[in-house]
């Protein structure tokens, strides 16, 4: 399933974006909020994020090795992710990307010496990628609901103890340059503003917040997130 979302549907408001940079509501200095406003406005008319997911109706869950098999490919998802996927009947494998444009603008600004502008583009790019993943997840939830199925939260290689190198297994399901994304040997997606992962589907799966208390990654963006 292929979906695309104009940037304008993905960017949260100025206060929320300043929040991503660390500022409590209303405390960001004016040049920062002004720049967020200017660049968000500029990007609104300038691009589209893309997301794709493929649903596999059957997955094999092995409780002993805590692995998940999709068409013979075994994902070593590790305990935290496994515990959330263990009741899944099927799974959606997905990738989302903000595309090249926003990253290019960021790098160009940095090269020209305007680090603040480069940084704001960078943060906007991350939010666009995450926003696209949120929308894609919502589309999947709605699609699953029509057949009486529920979905789990989304999980990405590199988070919750799942090795980032497993992106190679994930990408083995997608044709080359799928969604305009390529994967390097070191499991880095290009464009950088991209997210990949898996979502469990089934009658008995539950959508639960991330189990951050079981994870020792204090820096994670999903830490403490409500949804």
């Amino acid at each position: 399933m292929r979906v695309s979302y104009p940037y304008k549907d993905l960017l949260p408001g100025i206060d929320a974006l300043a929040g991503v940079m660390g500022y409590k509501s209303g405390t960001a200095p004016e040049p920062v909020t002004d720049l967020i406003a200017e660049l968000s406005e500029e990007l609104l008319t300038n691009g589209e994020a893309r997301a794709e997911y493929t649903i596999f109706n059957h997955v094999r869950l092995d409780k002993v090795s805590r692995t998940l098999g999709v068409e013979g490919v075994v994902f070593n998802v590790k305990p935290i992710v496994f515990s959330q996927l263990k009741h899944a009947e099927g799974a959606a494998l997905f990738i989302c990307t903000a595309g090249q444009e926003v990253g290019m603008r960021s790098r160009r600004s940095m090269r020209e010496g305007d680090l603040l502008r480069g940084y704001v583009y960078d943060v906007l790019g991350s939010e666009i990628a995450e926003g696209a993943a949120d929308k894609m997840q919502e589309a999947l939830r709605a699609a699953a609901a029509t057949t009486g199925m529920s979905i789990t939260n989304r999980f990405s290689p590199g988070y919750c103890g799942w090795d980032v190198a497993e992106q190679h297994k994930l990408f083995s399901f997608f044709p080359d340059n799928y969604c305009g994304i390529t994967l390097t040997d070191s499991a880095l997606m290009n464009p950088v503003k991209s997210v990949s992962g898996i979502i469990g589907v089934g009658r008995n799966v539950k959508y639960e917040p991330y189990r951050c208390r079981q994870c020792d990654d204090k820096n994670c963006i999903y830490r403490g997130r409500k949804t």
Partner: protein, 250 residues
């Protein structure tokens, strides 16, 4: 800081020490200028046109004040040591304490670099010396650059020359740069656990070739323990830690 304080102090001094007016006037004007430059850099006041911070609107910024200081005979070395470096150090400390965030650090850097446009020629002529050379790059296979750029900028603000090799840097490229800049310190950045493996390889090869080289490492997944394991010299989760470490070397 109240910028009028310096002027007020000048007035009092003249009243109390009438016989030494000229000398004192010179010193006070200098300290006042240096303090003002420092404040401008700390709060990101680039030049007279910058509307931020609002309390300094319409006043001269780091760019103009540095020019005045040099014209009045303040040495570029003093501007660096007494105004710019302390300002960036305060910025780095506030960032480490989460009192300010990346954007304000970058605003300070911009003010600093406007001041540096007047000082750079003295570096080129050799009249002012840097504290050392810092070579930095994101390791092979990794394309992340924001973190590396922040670190470069803060270390430059601490008085070091920066050689930024960019992203996806091979060990050979690091070696080449070290050969071109003997005595330089090196910083490796990696953002993925997979590219940390390349960091390990680069660190090992560099250590073999340059036993005395100081190697700093950083990036979100990097830890103190990993740093020790790969035989690097120092790990810091943020730029200020690196700046403090470099102070102990120069």
């Amino acid at each position: 800081m109240d910028l009028s304080t310096g002027t007020f102090y000048l007035f009092l001094t003249l009243v109390w020490y009438p016989g030494k007016q000229i000398l004192l006037l010179q010193i006070v004007v200098m300290t006042d200028l240096l303090e003002r430059i420092s404040t401008c850099v700390e709060f990101g006041k680039v030049d007279i046109k910058s509307p931020y911070p609002p309390a300094m609107k319409g006043q001269e910024g780091a760019f103009e004040l540095t020019r005045h200081a040099l014209d009045k005979g303040v040495s570029p070395g003093d501007i660096l040591e007494e105004a710019l470096i302390p300002a960036m150090s305060r910025v780095g400390q506030k960032f480490s304490r989460n009192e300010i965030f990346v954007p304000q650090m970058l605003m300070a850097a911009k003010a600093m670099s406007s001041s540096m446009t007047h000082i750079k020629p003295y570096y080129l002529s050799g009249e002012t010396k840097r504290r050392g050379t810092f070579i930095i790059g994101t390791v092979r296979g990794d394309l992340h650059d924001i973190g590396k750029n922040l670190v470069s900028m803060m270390i430059e603000g601490a008085g070091w020359e920066i050689v930024d090799l960019g992203v996806d840097v091979s060990t050979e490229k690091f070696i080449e740069a070290i050969e071109q800049h003997p005595g330089a310190v090196i910083g490796l950045s990696a953002l993925l656990t997979t590219t940390m493996e390349n960091m390990r390889k680069s660190a090992a090869d560099l250590r073999k070739k340059f036993p005395d080289l100081k190697i700093l490492v950083g990036g979100a997944p990097v830890t103190e323990e990993f740093c020790r394991k790969i035989g690097a010299d120092f790990y810091s989760p943020d730029p200020q830690g690196a700046v403090e470490y470099l102070k102990t070397l120069s």
